[in-house]
Each structure stands twice: as C-alpha cells, then as structure tokens.
Amino acid sequence: METLLQQIINGLVVGSMYALVALGYTMVYGILGLINFAHGDILMIGALVALQAITFAQHTWPHLGALPTLAFGLVVAVPVSMLMGYVIERAAYRRLRNAPRLAPLITAIGVSFLLQTIAMIVWGRNYYSFPQLISTTPLQPVKGVYIAPVQIVILIVSAVLMAALIVLVNKTRIGRAMRATAENHRIASLMGVDANAIISLTFVIGSGLAAIAGVMIASNYGIAHSTMGTLPGLKAFTAAVLGGIGNLGGAMLGGILLGLVESIGAGYIEQFSFGFFNSSYQDIFAFVILGVVLVFRPTGLLGERVADRA
C-alpha cells in the first residue's frame, strides 16, 4: 500500500514537471501550430544560466540565504531564456511563418541541435551539481511514504503557473489578442492586433516558463547538463498532445497523467506482463500513449476539434 502511494506521489511530481514544460509547448503550438522542438533546450539553457548565477551569488553574497539565492538565479535565467526565445522566433521561425509545416519543423530541429551544441561549447559535457536550495530532506505525511519539500514546491509552482496562464489567455486584452492570432493571424492583424508582437510575446512567455521548469527540474535532481532538456522535452510534448495541444488545462492534465502512467507502469509492468517486460521499458510508455492518442483521438483529451486543413 505504501508502495502504491509512493508511486502515485512519484508520478505526481514527475507529472507536474512534465506539465510545467508542456505549458510552454502548448502555448506556442496553440498560437503558431508549430512544435517548438527547441523548447526542451531552452529549458536546459535556463537551468545552466541559473546555475551560473547561483554560483556567482553564493560566492559574492555568501550570507544571502537559500531562497533569495534561488530567486536571484531565476531573475537572471528567466530573462536570458526569454531573450533567447525572442531571438529564435525572430531569426528562425518568423520567416517561415507562411511556409508549409515541414520547413519550420526542420528548422526547429536544427535550432534544438544548435542550442545543445552551444551549451556544450560554453559548459562542456560535464554534469554539474546543481545547488539544492529548496530542502530535499523528505517529509513523511503518511508513515513509509516520503515527499521532499522541493517536490511540493514543484507541484504548487506548476499549478499556479497554469492558473496564471489561463487567466492571462482568457481574461486579459493580451489574451484576447492571442486567441485571435491563434484563430487566424492574418485576420487578427486586419482587426488591429499586432500579430507579430503577439507571437513574439508568446515565445517570450513560453521560454520564460521553460527556464522556470529547468530550474525546478535541476533543483529536484541536483544536476544540470547540456542534454538535460531532450528527454523532458519529448515527454512534455507527449503530455501536451495527450491533454489536447493548445489547451492549457490539457497540458496540466496530460502531464500528470503521463507521470502517473510512467511511474505506475514501470512499477508494476513486471507483474502484469509475467516478467516479460520490466522497468527497462519505462521510456516506451510516453511514445505508445502518444501514438494511441493521436490515432484514436487526435485532438487529445481536452482538445477542441480543429479544421482538417492547415
């Protein structure tokens, strides 16, 4: 029983990390219809920049305390990532906005590779130990079941950010402009929306979210390196599709579901398959779910039906 409960907690934590990343994916996709392959890599850059800033802060102001130091890391990393998102959109994606989907997609793969290479040039391939400024000493809400404060923080941060984004998109002027642009950016510009600015803004927000996600992930595992974005990127994309891409609540739902499926699946698959499968197949779940969802419900769990033609 404790084991199952623990697996559920593990799933929730991993799932909310996926959700955090998926929110960025889903925002960009919702507006542009583009899978920003580089999203995971912006996450990685965010984490590494934060690491740099935190190390700097720890050296310069050793008495700052844990949380202000972390905040300083975020204050540096989020704008850097935002700038990066803006530059990428401006330089690589904007020119291809009216091209068919293949072109921006291939460019996005290239950008993702480029970011990883740049990170390797700047930081090398080493694994860095990321300061765990939020406590990782586990609490025991139920006997035998553990959850660390950093994990609770991740759960809260992803829920809060999702709520904030929903408010932004549905209740504000900018949000209305975003929805209009998502519907059809040409008509939106005819209606007086500066579509280019809105798309840039979306990228900037998405990249900022990625940086926060990167710092959270690095804080949880206490590790940061130049390829840390790839796997969360892929999983989070799956989560976004599962929930219904373009739908913010869906990203959250999809992330949590995927996290649960992975942890419970990997935890119990051996019993279910009579020893044929085991935890070495953990990474397959995401891809299988992705395939199944896309085949039977291409719009995801909460997605709206969109027109067939792109």
């Binding site: 991993v14 694994y127 586990p138 553990y146 206490g222 840390m228 990997a266 953990q282 990474d283």
Partner: protein, 369 residues
C-alpha cells in the same frame, strides 16, 4: 598503390636503417568529449613508457630501436573506434595500446585482428573482448567477469544477503550487473529486485520505490557516476536504509560531488579493478608522471604504461618487432610492471588481476583492506 607504398617503405627503411629502426606504437582513447580527461591520462601512460624505453635504449634483434607514439582520438564512439583503428593500421603501427572503452575496443579489435596487429587494452573490462578467439588481443586489467564476483563477495560478506540490482542498459552497466547478479546467486544471496534505467535518466524514484518495497540490504548499481550521484540522493529521499555499491563507474570524485550531502560514510562503496594508486608496487610512478605531465594520475595511465612496456619486453625477447614474430613471446611473458606482475592466460586476460574495494570516507574514496 601497394607498390608505391612498398617503395616508400623501402625508402624509409633505407635511410633509417643506418642509424636506428623506428617502430610506431599506436594509442587510442577518447581525447575529446566527456571522457577526455581519462583518455588523455591513458595516452600519457603510453607516452611515458615510450620515453622511458627510448631513454634506456632498446635493442631488438641486434638493431637499436626508437619507438614513436601515434596517438588517436576515438571519442568513445564505436564507429569512430573502427575508423581510428583503420588509421592506426595505415600508419603501420606494430602494436596498439587501447582502446579505453569496451564499446570501442570490441569492434576495433576485429580490424587489428585482420591486420595482424597486437592490441593490448589497458582498461576495457567487458568479458566478451577476449572471448572472440582473437590471438592478438590482450588486456592488462581484470575484466567484469572478475569484478562482478569480487563485488558480490564483498557485498555478501560485509553488507548483507539481500541485494537489489540496477543497471543502466549500457554495454558496461548491463555486463557488470549481470556478472554481479550471477555471483550473488551463486554465493547464497538473494536478488530481491532487478531494475533498469538508462544512461541518460535522472529520475530513479519509481525503480527505487520498487526496490524499497523488498527491503534489500544492498543496492548495486551497474552504471556511471552521472546517474550514480543523483541515485544516491534519491535513495536518501525515499528513506532507504540499504547500502549503496557501484563498480568502477562510480569510483570517481565526480560521484561524490554529484551525490552532494546525500552520500554518507559507511553506506557507499565501490569496486575497481587494479591496485589503488597509494599501494602501487612502484611508488615512483605517480611522482614521475606528475613531474613529466604536470597532471595527477587519473586512472588508467599505470596500466597503459605497463601494457606498453610489456609489448616492448616481448619484442626484445623475440628479437623482432613484427607482431607475428613476437606474439608467441607476448603470450608467455612475465613482465614486472608498476601495477604488478603482467602475465596472460590463454585467452589474453590478465592472470590474477586484483580488484580493490573502496569505501566513502572523509569526502573521498578510501581503499578497504
């Protein structure tokens, strides 16, 4: 084409013959990438050996021989490994000291075998390397088939009988974990769970939760330090009391750094083939290495050093630098090296290779005796 090469060789031979014979010895290790520090260390071991031999002056079959190092970078990548092997063969090396990783050594050994060149790996520990039936393949480090059982013996006698085994599904991790598991079962222990992760993963909570449900005394992880460090942390996060044991992939300062404050004295151990540096029979080696390269010995340089001098020894005994001629002598060699006595069994494996167990103590790995 062949003709011009022969002509060139004749030309080279003709000019050099008068003074001394130049013999090339190849070295291959990852000189760039994540393992560059280890690869550089290996290559420097070969370099030091060659410099020593040249300084002393070696006479083979009545001719004075000057050895020359041909260093190549295989990036720890199997495909590059074969390309590099081909390059070394092209360069006309008489022996190769390398490669460093099992993954690159195994495909490369086939090329050396076809070309009839002797290869001695200082550090590839995958058992299959010497099970291919290649005459010309040797290694000077105890392989995983010995490390696994040694780790298992230590675990069963000192840490407990209930063992959970995790591997990272890499050629190295899986090979070592399998040998360990076999030896634990044979030694009367029980394997409570066998779990898997990948060499790119950072989250082990799910498998560790499963491991915890069976309450093992020891967790053995066959893998490298980038995964080992976070795993130690997560073991603590889940309140698992079991001891943590790794193979040589975890015997690094890196693991201690990545595990942070989660690693506790008396609860983390690792095994490594070879003798600890502090206990090398030849204590001068470390100091000489430091003086020559202005760098500390990392891991494999003493073995690379020994492998090189062993080959040179065999050349002297056989009176020839041709691999086909000195191969029989190499098979029977007894070379007193800095890591101990080098002699090979019929497969080309080191006889009586030592395995050392280390424990985490006072911020570093201390050898246990």
């Amino acid at each position: 084409m062949k003709k011009t090469m022969i002509a060139l060789a004749m030309l080279a031979f003709g000019t050099v013959h008068a003074q001394e014979m130049v013999v090339k010895i190849g070295s291959s290790a990852p000189l760039t990438g994540a393992q560059a520090h280890l690869g550089k260390d290996t290559e420097n071991g070969v370099r030091l050996a060659i410099e020593d031999a040249n300084a002393k002056g070696v006479v083979v079959g009545g001719k004075k021989v000057k050895f020359e190092l041909v260093g190549e970078d295989d990036q720890a990548d199997p495909k590059q490994g074969t390309a590099v092997a081909q390059r070394l063969v092209d360069a006309g090396v008489k022996a190769v000291i390398g490669h460093m990783n099992s993954g690159t050594t195994i495909p490369a050994s086939r090329i050396y075998n076809q070309a009839g060149i002797v290869m001695i790996s200082p550090s590839a520990t995958n058992p299959t390397l010497t099970q291919q039936g290649f005459e010309n393949v040797f290694r000077v480090m105890a392989h995983d088939g010995k490390q696994g059982p040694a780790a298992a013996k230590f675990a069963l006698s000192k840490l407990g009988k209930k063992v959970a085994v995790i591997d990272d599904r890499s050629a190295y991790g899986q090979g070592l974990a399998d040998e360990f598991e076999k030896a634990v079962k044979a030694g009367g222990g029980t394997v409570t769970t066998r779990e898997f992760t990948t060499d790119k993963a950072t989250d082990f909570m799910t498998i560790l939760t499963k491991v915890k449900s069976q309450n093992p005394d020891v967790i053995f992880f066959g893998g490298m330090d980038p995964q080992g460090g976070p795993m130690v942390k997560q073991v603590k996060q889940l309140g698992i009391e079991a001891k943590f044991l790794m193979g040589d992939g975890g015997c690094t300062p890196e693991l201690i750094k990545l595990a942070g404050d989660a690693i506790k004295e008396g609860s983390a151990f690792c095994t490594q083939p070879g003798v600890p540096l502090e206990q090398l029979p030849d204590q001068n080696f470390k100091a000489r290495f430091l003086k020559r390269f202005n760098a500390e010995v990392q891991a494999y340089s003493p073995y690379a050093y020994d492998a090189t001098l062993t080959v040179i020894d065999a050349m002297k005994t056989a009176g020839s630098v041709e691999p086909a001629k000195y191969l029989p002598a190499l098979k029977k060699i007894q070379h007193k090296g800095v890591t101990g006595m080098i002699k090979f069994d019929e497969k080309g494996d080191l006889k009586d290779g030592a395995i050392t167990v280390y424990a985490f103590k006072a911020g570093k790995w201390e050898p246990l005796k």
